[in-house]
């Protein structure tokens, strides 16, 4: 496939690996954080850790939107699924996430109408086809996904579809990155910044991070050569003592991002404080539906009783998401918490750090 195969070339990967080794030679341990879950998948799926020297550590961050969504949201989705006349439409990623006592997967087995969709427009179509039902779409995801959901809401309004709602839990990317480095608990020498989020928000969005906190940032794509080149670019900054935002993913990311998508987002959504699993409330890190589109907000339009929160003891998803612990540090990992019987969200999402470690790594 064009623009995919070329970025998986093994001889070019080898050349990058050798350059990385030279840059890192003799250096004390360097810690780079890949914020985005899809980057973590690339790293593990292609075995990239085998191509970089031992003194370059890759840390997975909170860039898995499913993982950072608090349990309360899942419980609310489950509460909706239990109502008569409601269809809960969701991306596949949320389907198996454990709530306090159940999951959407379990609710479907019990007879709840839960449908997995590939796009928010599929959920809108469901609403159009089933006028007697209320379709609630679970709006989870970062700035890559929020514009799509915005379009679905605008289309609903334009077409006069009154039975489509979004339960909005969208979050935005740069604030948690700032939260991670501002508390001082974590020592990060560089950020590998999200690729497709940056397609929307632009690489300029990270400038404040590199300036205020003196951390090198590189926006990278998702193929193995992209990640390797991103790592190389970070090491080069570290070696040279430069601190700036570099753009590795030049074929898809511009400094200003995608202005059209950003303006649609600003029309449909407003910034808000948002709770992140393991990180508490981060100011200005989430989106809520604006007054103009209030009619499509499940939160304000459809009341539902939600069960009390239950957090399983021993689950350290929060620490894993912040990068201070690895799944290998978790007492439940592999022994109690597995993909078939997950305790925390990190084990369920295909981009969850624990799920990735479990699936792709044979380290116990």
């Amino acid at each position: 496939m064009r623009f995919i195969d070329e970025f998986r070339d093994s001889s070019l990967a080898g050349a990058l690996a050798r350059r990385i080794a030279r840059l890192a030679e003799g250096s004390p341990e360097i810690t780079l954080m890949e914020v985005c879950g899809t980057h973590t998948v690339t790293v593990f799926k292609h075995g990239i850790k085998d191509l970089i020297p031992d003194n370059v550590k890759l840390l997975a961050g909170p860039g898995c939107p499913v993982c950072v969504t608090p349990t309360h949201y899942i419980d609310k989705a489950i509460a909706y699924a239990r109502l008569e006349g409601v269809i809960v439409a969701t991306f596949g990623d949320l389907f198996r996430v454990p709530g306090s006592s159940s999951s959407l997967e379990e609710e479907r087995a019990k007879g709840g109408d839960v449908r997995i969709v590939y796009s928010p427009l599929d959920a809108l179509r469901l609403a159009q086809q089933s006028r007697d039902k209320m379709v609630i779409f679970l709006g989870v995801g970062f700035e890559t996904t929020a514009p799509l959901v915005a379009v679905s809401i605008m289309e609903a309004k334009r077409r006069g579809i009154r039975n489509y709602y979004v339960l909005c839990a969208h979050k935005v990317m740069p604030p948690p990155m700032e939260a991670l480095v501002s508390d001082g608990e974590l020592r990060i020498d560089g950020f590998l910044c999200p690729g497709h989020v940056s397609t929307i928000i632009g690489w300029g969005a990270y400038r404040f991070l590199s300036q205020k906190y003196h951390i090198p940032c590189v926006v990278a794509g998702f193929e193995p050569l992209d990640v390797l080149e991103g790592i190389w670019m970070l090491l080069r900054q570290i070696r040279n003592g430069t601190v700036q935002v570099d753009n590795q993913y030049r074929r898809a990311v511009r400094e200003e991002g995608n202005p059209k998508a950003l303006s649609l987002m600003r029309d449909v959504f407003e910034m808000a404080d948002s709770e992140w699993r393991g990180m508490g409330v981060i100011p200005g890190s989430g989106l809520t539906i604006s007054d103009k589109y209030r009619d499509y907000d499940a939160e304000t339009s459809m009341e539902v009783a939600v069960e009390p929160l239950y957090s399983p003891p021993g689950c350290i998803c929060g620490s894993v998401l912040r990068g201070v612990k690895s799944p290998l540090n978790c007492p439940l990992f592999r022994k109690v918490c597995t993909p078939e019987s997950p305790v925390g969200a990190c084990m369920v999402s295909s981009e969850g750090t624990c799920s990735i470690y479990y699936k792709y790594s044979d380290q116990i």
Binding site: F3, L12, G141, T144, T145, V151, I200, A252, N258, K260
Partner: protein, 74 residues
């Protein structure tokens, strides 16, 4: 954190298009992009084109890497 794959626009009508990659075609929404024409490559995420792919930048990125490899061999 988002699956987005490069696809080529093969048909277009208003805000809708058909995109193709590796012989697979799928309907995509062009709502979020501007100035995309038939033959252009876009990044597709969950049924939407989210950005036009800059082919020249893609080639330049690859050329830089090829030069890296060449430099070793010299």
């Amino acid at each position: 954190m988002c699956l987005g794959i490069p696809m080529r626009i093969v048909e277009k009508e208003g805000n809708k298009g058909i995109a193709e990659a590796g012989g697979v075609k799928r309907e995509v929404s062009l709502h979020l992009v501007e100035g995309v024409e038939i033959g252009d490559y876009v990044i597709v995420h969950a049924g939407f084109a989210i950005q036009k792919l800059d082919e020249r930048e893609a080639e330049e990125t690859l050329n830089l890497l090829r030069e890296m490899l060449q430099a070793e061999e010299d």
